[in-house]
């Protein structure tokens, strides 16, 4: 039996999983610290894609466009946090979900108005066009970059959270916002900061996606569900768990596409549902 197609799919899954991870990380940070399920998170991700597309078309510079996508998406996140999200912190969870859901609907439509209903994409940068051979399969440099970037982001996040004062403060607010205030930590500012980091990460992920996958309306709907499933299966709040599950979901779904293309998503969701049935706190969650 020729295993080459499986290897191709596994490698594809690795970079897809890395992109899922970048999306999921922002979602976890915002949920963990700000305690808001950000329904609009995938909409921010896609916003990053569109900003990348626009800037790349005007400047032709990949790096500048990438930075702009991150910063502008993050700025948009901060703008929303300050004007809308902040006002629902003290309300019931239900209203927080509703507010971010409303934002997601608005964002999706606004994107259609600004960038049209068609799909957009940009070419892979010249310098990254080549590839390396992995077991007889060519792995594109750009995909390698994403896989490496995802892994570095994982290491950097763990180091940042465990070894810096800001990371420590974020963890403190995550655990107990009231006590943190009493210790002199400005929780309001921390919330805004985390919202910036989370949405800027979403912008980064979205920007990295455009050269690989055509971005268009409907992508966010699909992505937010996948991100939710990753975060819930990993266990709300587990950063390491989210990285592992993201990669697993990427690889597994890619291989399922090859073996049972009719039911790939269905099977994936079923497995997720079964995991939750037997381990409600998720694979890496603590009770």
């Amino acid at each position: 039996m020729d295993l080459t197609p499986f290897l191709v799919q596994a490698l594809t899954g690795l970079y897809k999983g890395s992109l899922y991870w970048i999306l999921a990380l922002g979602l976890i940070l915002i949920f963990g610290v700000v305690r808001v399920i950000n329904f609009a998170h995938a909409a921010f991700y896609v916003t990053g894609s569109y900003i990348m597309y626009t800037f790349y078309n005007h400047t032709g510079n990949f790096i500048i466009s990438l930075i702009m996508a991150m910063v502008l998406t993050g700025a948009l996140g901060v703008a929303l946090e300050v004007t809308v999200i902040r006002r629902v912190y003290k309300l019931e969870t239900i209203y927080q979900l509703l507010a971010t859901f409303g934002i997601a609907l608005i964002a999706n439509e606004a994107q259609k108005l600004i960038w049209g209903k068609g799909v957009v994409y940009i070419p892979i940068p010249e310098t990254l066009k080549g590839g390396v051979s992995v077991g007889g399969v060519i792995l594109n440099h750009y995909m390698t970059l994403i896989i490496v970037a995802g892994f570095l982001l994982f290491i950097a996040t763990i180091l940042f959270m465990n070894n810096t004062v800001t990371g420590l403060r974020i963890r403190a607010v995550w655990r107990d916002p009231v006590m943190s205030e009493a210790l002199g930590i400005n929780t309001k500012l921390t919330y805004t900061l985390v919202f910036f980091i989370g949405t800027a990460l979403a912008g980064l992920g979205g920007a990295l996606t455009v050269p690989l996958i055509s971005v268009g309306p409907g992508l966010a709907d699909y992505l937010i569900v996948t991100a939710f499933i990753i975060v819930v299966v990993a266990g709300l709040g587990s950063i390491t768990g989210a990285y592992i599950v993201s990669i697993l979901v990427g690889v597994f779904s890619s291989i399922l596409v090859l073996t049972i293309p009719e039911l790939d998503i269905v099977v994936l969701y079923m497995i997720a549902a079964l995991i939750l049935l037997f381990r409600p706190q998720g694979l890496f969650g603590e009770r």
Partner: protein, 327 residues
């Protein structure tokens, strides 16, 4: 009013308004206006969907993003049943009830044990499973094209005349509304409201949170599925769109517009929602934008919905009796 105490407990402004509304609906066909009948049918179908939804949302305090699943289950079971098993719309609609019951229990087992946040996420995920199954299982569901040719004229009943069909829907609508009113007035209604208000206290009173939530989900699921099956018969077509999560969020928006803590709130919301969507249908391309903005405005400024806003106006006049509109 001179009523015996027992009746006074059962009868309040809600039932009177409801009966008046049903009476109003019953005379609409006499006008002979096909367009009004069309809108009225949509209001009844979405009214049922929203009222069913609100049992979970307004009463039990559970936010579901997956009610497209139940609506879709109703629509597809009537379609598959009438096309493949027995060609009759009435039997088809009735057939969707046990299917919806089983689906609700399955969904409940999977989603109800983890708290409110998980419930919202998991119902969303389940409705997406269902949606992708509808799209992918082409040989059963017709894929994205859906199923066409759901009969209005069957072996037992013939609903092909618009007026006949109209009253067919009205009977289901009236039955469900009165049923929900009875539930609202019953002990279960009270317990469900207590559950939504303060879930921690109930176990002390000897009730299992899980069982009560399961009851709410089942009622909600079956009513939503019935709305879906009637919708399928109405249009003679079903497509996977009805199971998509943005469609499933519509009853949520209706409940919020009307006021989710009022018994008739979702129905009022459906009335406004359907009238608006039909009125702006010509430029409804960016409808979702308005929907999102409306949702945000509701959450930030009018959490009581339209009825809450009216009550605050009337409440300014210190007319305490209006409190009775709340469930």
């Amino acid at each position: 009013m001179f009523l015996p105490p027992r009746l006074r407990v059962l009868i309040d402004g809600n039932i009177i308004a409801l009966l008046l509304f049903i009476g109003f609906l019953a005379v609409i066909p006499l006008s002979g206006h096909r367009f009004y009948m069309y809108i009225a049918v949509l209001i009844m179908i979405f009214g049922m969907f929203a009222m069913g939804y609100n049992i979970l949302f307004g009463y039990a305090g559970l936010l579901s993003f997956g009610h497209g699943l139940f609506f879709g289950v109703g629509a597809y079971s009537v379609a598959l049943f009438t096309l493949n098993v027995y060609r009759d719309p009435l039997v088809g609609v009735l057939f969707s009830i046990p299917i919806a019951l089983l689906t609700s229990i399955l969904v409940g087992v999977l989603t109800l044990k983890h708290g409110k946040v998980y419930f919202a996420i998991l119902t969303l995920a389940l409705s997406m499973i269902f949606w992708s199954a509808l799209v992918k299982l082409r040989w059963i569901t017709g894929g994205t094209d859906g199923l066409t040719g759901i009969p209005k004229r069957g072996v037992l009943v013939d609903l092909s005349a618009p007026t006949t069909f109209y009253y067919f829907i009205l009977v289901f609508f009236a039955a469900i509304m009165l049923g929900l009113y009875a539930l609202n007035k019953s002990r279960y209604g009270l317990l469900l409201r207590a559950l939504g208000a303060n879930e921690d206290r109930l176990p002390f009173l000897g009730y299992s949170t899980f069982t009560l939530r399961m009851i709410a989900l089942t009622v909600s699921g079956v009513v939503s599925a019935l709305a879906g099956s009637l919708y399928a018969v109405f249009y003679s077509v079903v497509t996977p769109d009805v199971a998509y999560w943005t469609f499933g969020a519509e009853p949520l928006v209706m409940s919020l517009i009307g006021g989710s803590s009022y018994f008739l709130g979702p129905l009022v919301g459906a009335l406004i929602f359907v009238s608006l969507t039909t009125a702006v249908a010509r430029f409804a391309e960016y409808w979702m934008l308005l929907l999102g903005a409306a949702l945000l405005a509701m959450v930030l400024f009018f959490r009581g919905g339209l009825l809450g806003f009216l009550e605050s106006l009337v409440g300014g006049l210190k007319l305490g009796v209006y409190r009775r509109w709340r469930f």
